[in-house]
Amino acid sequence: MTHYEPEGRTPDPEEARLVDEVRAAGTEGRVLHIRGGSSKDGLGGTPRGSGLSTLGLKGIVDYDPAELVVTVRAGTPLADLQAELAAHGQMLPFEPPAWPDATVGGTVASGLSGPRRAFSGSVRDALLGVRLIDGRGQLLQFGGQVMKNVAGFDLFRLQAGAWGRLGVLLEVSFRVLPRPQSELTRVLQMDADQAIAHMNQLAGTPVPLSAAAWFGGLLHLRLSGSAAGVQAALSGVGGEPLDPLSAERLWADCAAQPPGFAETAAAAESVPLWRLAVPAATRSLAAEGEEAIDWCGGLRWLRTHAPAEAVRALATSLGGHATAWQNNLARPAMHPLDPVRQALHRRLFDTLDPDGVFDSGRFDADAAAVVAPAGA
């Protein structure tokens, strides 16, 4: 069993450098945009300010598989972390998109989860603690390395999906899960509305589902668990088996964007792509554009020429929200907030980052003040 001793808490030179940079930017009224591997540059607005790289923060700090906890520095390549976990038969529960050069810090900051999200939770669900530098240049630690912890507000979970707006992540701790003994994927031919009903009905029964996605006229269901449990569940699921290698590739692709969906779009390069979060049993959105479905119905990819306002209004009317994705210049990229939450965001930013050091415009759900960038 590998065990990495936690490093001593003597000041780390790279962390000290980042603290100095943040403090200097605050003093001089400059904006910093935090960068890991730059793998998500195409998402959201083009950030303003000068780059602050976390790539000098590399390595796993503490990992004991029996604890189901790993602590890792923010600039560590996501692939390195996943390889280390896999070597011990474990994994991140939220199946993040594995773009080349993605870092652990960017994975947390973007808050993007893959197909397993609907069944074993999101990035923030797996997050147990963070160390970060706030807008005042203070080193702060929230949460810890244990699963049950109700001391203080959950400011560590707040970092997931915050796009670095609240601080520079230095180190994060995740809860990890054992890799399932067995995984099988089945494919069923049906239309979107049938698929939505089928996947949600199945998820209400004790079947070990770990992914349910529909695109290109096909429902894809993944079962994970003990070999006996998965085999026993197959009869209730039906469909045709997908070979393990293709299945693995398919779900990895889904974590970023459904693969078949991208290929079948004749005008993929010019039609704006949206990512909508909606209640799981929401009807098919096929009437509004080309649709792909993940997260057991909770995530809808929509490729449409419809105006941004119409897509936002659709998402809002369904009780959800819409994010501008590929080929999509709608700004802000994130779904605008209602005035009450917008005011809360503003007050949190003002108090945690009074000089606006991290106000790079990348995190733009809060602000009318964001200038629409030239391109994404």
Binding site: D64, P65, A66, E67, V69, G111, S113, A118, G121, S122, R124, D125, Q138, L140, G144, V146, M147, K148, N149, V150, A151, G152, F153, D154, L155, R157, A160, G161, A162, P178, N200, A203, G204, P206, V207, P208, S226, A227, A228, G229, Q231, A232, A277, P279, A281, W295, G298, G319, G320, H321, P336, L337, D338, V340, R341, L344, H345, R347, L348, T351
Partner: protein
Amino acid sequence: MLRHNGVMHTQAPSRPHAAAPQPAHRAPLLAALAAALPADALLTQPEQLGPYECDGLSMYRQPPLAVALPYAAAQVQAVLRICHAHNTPVVPRGAGTGLAGGALPSADAVLLSLARLKRIARIDALARVAVVEPGVRNAAISEAAAGYGLYYAPDPSSQIACSIGGNVAENSGGVHCLKYGLTVHNVLGVRGFLADGTPVSIGGEAPDDSGLDLLALMMGSEGLLAVVTEVTVRLLPRPRHAQVVMAAFATVEDAGDAVAGIIGEGIIPAGLEMMDALATRAVEDFVHAGYPLDAGAILLAESDGTLEEVADEIARIEAVCRRHGAVSLATSQSEAERLKLWAGRKAAFPAVGRITPDYYCMDGTIPKKRLSAVLRRIAELSEQHGLACANVFHAGDGNLHPLIFFDANQPGDVERAEAFGLDILRACVEAGGVITGEHGVGVEKLDAMCVQFAAPELSTFHAVKAAFDPAGLLNPGKAVPTLHRCAEMGGMHVHGGKLLHPDLPRF
């Protein structure tokens, strides 16, 4: 059984914001509340306030200025608006089962009970969600969903009485949280009001709210940020089958190794609980669950799922336990046997209550690998302080409940028990753990917060509080200590928990 009269702490929590209101203040406030609420929804007479003077941490008692018992969200909003206009603190309360004094009133505050908002608004079986009011009991959600084959997974031990609103405030766990998560993992959205009565809606059925994850911030915020009047929860399919393995080990170390072995095997048990020798003996004398009396520790490991999944996991759990030197092993072969094996663990607190006049229940979390070291340290401290201590442990997630034996009628015992508890929490922090795993901070652990967090973190918590509640009127003085208090504190000082509801299972 437990006695409460021996320990009376009258010290009020420090609260920087409001002084006790002058009588001149009180009359217009009460008049405004009376005008906004039905006659039976406002209590102001001293004899009416008695039941609200404490929550499950009964050693702290303080009647509030008045108690509001609204029937609907609009009345909650009215109470908040009126209190805000009169610069009067509001202390929200659910079922009052909390163990850390989170719902302890202050003399100048209106206690806002959400107990009458107990409607289950909607269950959507296809989408697997329930929308409920905050006063709905935790167990009532699962009861209402049972007809659909669904249930609400978090099961704090007080689940027959505690409310979902209180669960949100405390981020409650439960025996099954290793596999199914805490409240934060099972609540999809909340609606309610900020301190000034502004309506706020956070999260919902659509995953991953736009903007910051304010929903995560709300969970476990102990009523400091908003008052929740509607909660949307995720429902899960009820497992078809469950079995439990009871394994006895010669030493706590062996049992700890077996826990690591089970996790190392790639199994996440539905429940994984440990008791040391003293707790085991107390329990066996009380409920005769069939635990071996000569064991150094016993382990309960439950598997749930389909028949095939459970059969497979149980066989592997048994093999791991044997490999790690289990001296005896029993696996439930029926639902009756399963419940009997659990009965002992669930009766651990009352069982301990039978053999000691009083006890303090601590609530620290540690990395599992440090269990043996921390238990050795607790044994040393037990010698040093001259008080016995039984240990029950949510072994899967590292949450330790040491139960310190004392007799409040013996001069000096209370102080020794407090000092012992303080040393235990310090040992948890030193082992890389935290000062509360599931009971919350409330007023009980304000001092211990000073041990776990430094001034910059505490200041940040205060800043977050101020962003939601600039006037500082919502449950002020709870959950986060003032920097002043931490600076003044010579050493960590922790008050142990005492149970108000000895009839509720606590584990």
